[in-house]
């Protein structure tokens, strides 16, 4: 048995949601009977709904809040949420202006969100969908629609939330969110597997001195398995692929996000980020912002991913807009305003 602090495996998701909710009950509401969470103070705007399997915390539930998602549909560990969960969440957040689904591009998620969209159509709730497919290692460019979604979710959700807060209509919010998804590129590396709570065995093996470049967050095979190497050398190799795939050129402007997969420490991520900064500067790619965190994890998986988000003026403004959710805060000034009152 793999050591995990749980009670019964079958209660992992419901107990985790319970624990999350008691800490965030001032801002969020749990929907009864389904594993869905929504914002308490919904605004009269296009609603943003995200979701996916559990096990990747703080994604997705930690990103429900101002300037981000209005609701989240939560699945079992590494399994997409059910259509009725998504349906209930969408119904609860819809203000008559439509709902935008933003989620990672996995077969299960697509099937369940599509089915929910059909159910909502019967109730005259309009939906649009933007799938995040940022993992450049998961499929070549000519099969871009097959690429999986990883840490780039964060950039795309950020833009969707900010666009909706502007009061734009569903089509406009969807279009700019799709643009953000099209300009988000990520690549990862794994050093050790993450496990399903309650599982007796690890889902795959990596040798003590081995890493796998391009491995997916559920252990999907990557580009190549190789011996462990110094952080700078590894970062160079990953970034070279990433810059090539994204066709970034000198003069382009990017937001950078270095994401830990679970057990890789901030100390290590800082060292990676230092090299990312050096390489991009050498390539004369302008860095607008850098974020180092572990938003998209796979339990105790070791490794990290680098995401580059190619900005333009419109995206920059939306990226800078204030946001506040339990696990993501940006340029948020509401609290200080409240303090003055």
């Amino acid at each position: 048995m793999i050591k995990k602090f749980i009670n019964k495996p079958e209660n992992v998701v419901s107990e985790a949601i319970e624990g999350f909710m008691v800490a965030n009950k001032d801002k969020l509401i749990k929907i009864e009977n389904v594993n869905g969470i929504i914002r308490k103070n919904l605004k009269d705007k296009v609603a943003i709904v995200t979701g996916g399997g559990s096990g990747h915390e703080p994604l997705f539930l930690g990103f429900v809040g101002e300037g981000l998602a209005d609701g989240v549909a939560i699945g079992n560990v590494f399994a997409a949420p059910t259509p009725n969960t998504i349906h209930e969440v969408a119904k609860a957040v819809d203000q008559g202006k439509g709902v935008l689904f933003v989620y990672g591009n996995y077969a299960g998620d697509v099937l369940n969100f599509d089915m929910a969209a059909e159910l909502l159509e019967f109730e005259d709730i309009q939906t649009k969908t933007v799938k995040v497919a940022d993992d450049v290692a998961s499929a070549p460019e000519e099969r871009k629609e097959d690429r999986r979604g990883i840490a780039g979710d964060v950039f795309v959700l950020k833009i969707a939330g900010a666009a909706s807060e502007k009061g734009w209509d569903l089509e406009k919010v969807a279009n700019v969110t799709q643009k953000a998804a099209d300009r988000t590129y990520s690549i990862g590396v794994a050093s050790s597997p993450g496990s399903i709570p309650g599982a007796t065995e690890l889902p795959y093996e990596l040798g003590d001195d081995e890493i796998e470049l391009g491995m997916g967050i559920h252990g999907e095979p990557g580009m190549k398995r190789t011996k462990m190497m110094p952080a700078d050398q590894l970062t160079d190799e990953l970034l070279n692929t990433l810059v090539m795939e994204s066709k970034l050129q000198a003069g382009d402007e990017v937001a950078v996000y270095v994401n830990g997969l679970g057990s890789t420490t901030l100390l290590e991520l800082f060292i990676i980020n230092r090299r990312v900064h050096q390489v991009l500067t050498e390539k004369r790619i302008h860095i607008y912002d850098m974020d180092i965190n572990s938003y998209c994890t796979t339990q105790e998986m070791g490794g990290f991913s680098i995401s580059l988000f190619k900005l333009d003026d419109e995206l920059k403004e939306l990226y800078d807009a204030p946001a506040k959710a339990p696990y993501y805060v940006k340029n948020h000034s509401i609290d200080t305003k409240e303090a003055k009152v």
């Binding site: 699945g75 399994a79 997409a80 059910t82 259509p83 299960g108 099937l111 369940n112 089915m115 559920h218």
Partner: protein, 221 residues
């Protein structure tokens, strides 16, 4: 008389048949888990057992006046409880065929063929999978063809189900020769060769158990 009686099932008999099918699928949880762990993420058996347990909850002790509602109850139980890709796909296997069907009070071989033919179309449309993609379609399609052929040949319900079971089983064997195009096995490419698909295996178990129930029902009479 007994044989003729079992050539068509009442809605409550269809309910009992699916309760038996569910029991068999749940019994096969370890087997399905083992198959899925080889090339998938190992959760297929768990998912199917969640779905059929929910179906049992919603079927048991309930009186049904038409066949459509029994299929719908099984399918919606799966869709609402399982999640992942198989929740929608196996849910559609039961819901997809009765969606546009007028209310039927008996299930005979012809209607069964019609329902699963509709289901196959709905699944292909939703999942975008075709035969040779190493999915449950590889078992469902030959089963549906066998049902249709059996109708043309005026076979009994049991004979038709046996043909469907055989078709599904051949389909499962065929999946060993295919490279996965969907799900997590897809990224394994050639490495998925030699392994049978878990979803196809479940389809075979479903038809096999339907045949067993109808056959045993005959003997009971």
């Amino acid at each position: 008389m007994a044989i003729r009686a079992m050539n068509s099932l009442t809605p409550n008999q269809v309910r009992d048949m699916f309760l038996y099918v569910g029991q068999k699928v749940v019994e096969n949880k370890p087997f399905l888990t083992k198959i899925d762990s080889a090339i998938g993420d190992g959760d297929h058996g768990i998912g199917m057992s969640v779905g059929f347990t929910k179906a049992e909850e919603n079927l048991k002790g309930k009186e049904f006046s038409n066949v459509n509602d029994v299929f719908k109850t099984v399918g919606m139980s799966m869709i609402s409880s399982m999640g992942g890709a198989s929740g929608v796909i196996f849910g559609t296997m039961f819901v997809g065929g009765v969606k546009k069907l007028e209310m039927k009070e008996t299930l005979d071989l012809q209607l069964l063929a019609e329902i699963f033919e509709g289901a196959l179309e709905a699944i292909k449309q939703r999942g975008k999978a075709e035969v040779r993609d190493k999915t449950m379609v590889d078992a469902l399609q030959p089963a549906v063809y066998a049902l249709k052929e059996s109708v043309e040949k005026n076979f009994s319900l049991v004979e038709g189900l046996r043909k469907a079971e055989e078709g599904a089983h051949q389909g499962v064997e065929n999946t060993k020769n295919y490279v996965a195009k969907f799900g997590r096995a897809k990224s394994l490419g050639e490495r998925s060769l030699g392994h049978q698909d878990a979803g196809a295996t479940t389809v075979w178990i479903i038809f096999k158990s339907m045949r067993e129930w109808v056959e045993e029902g005959l003997q009971d009479d």
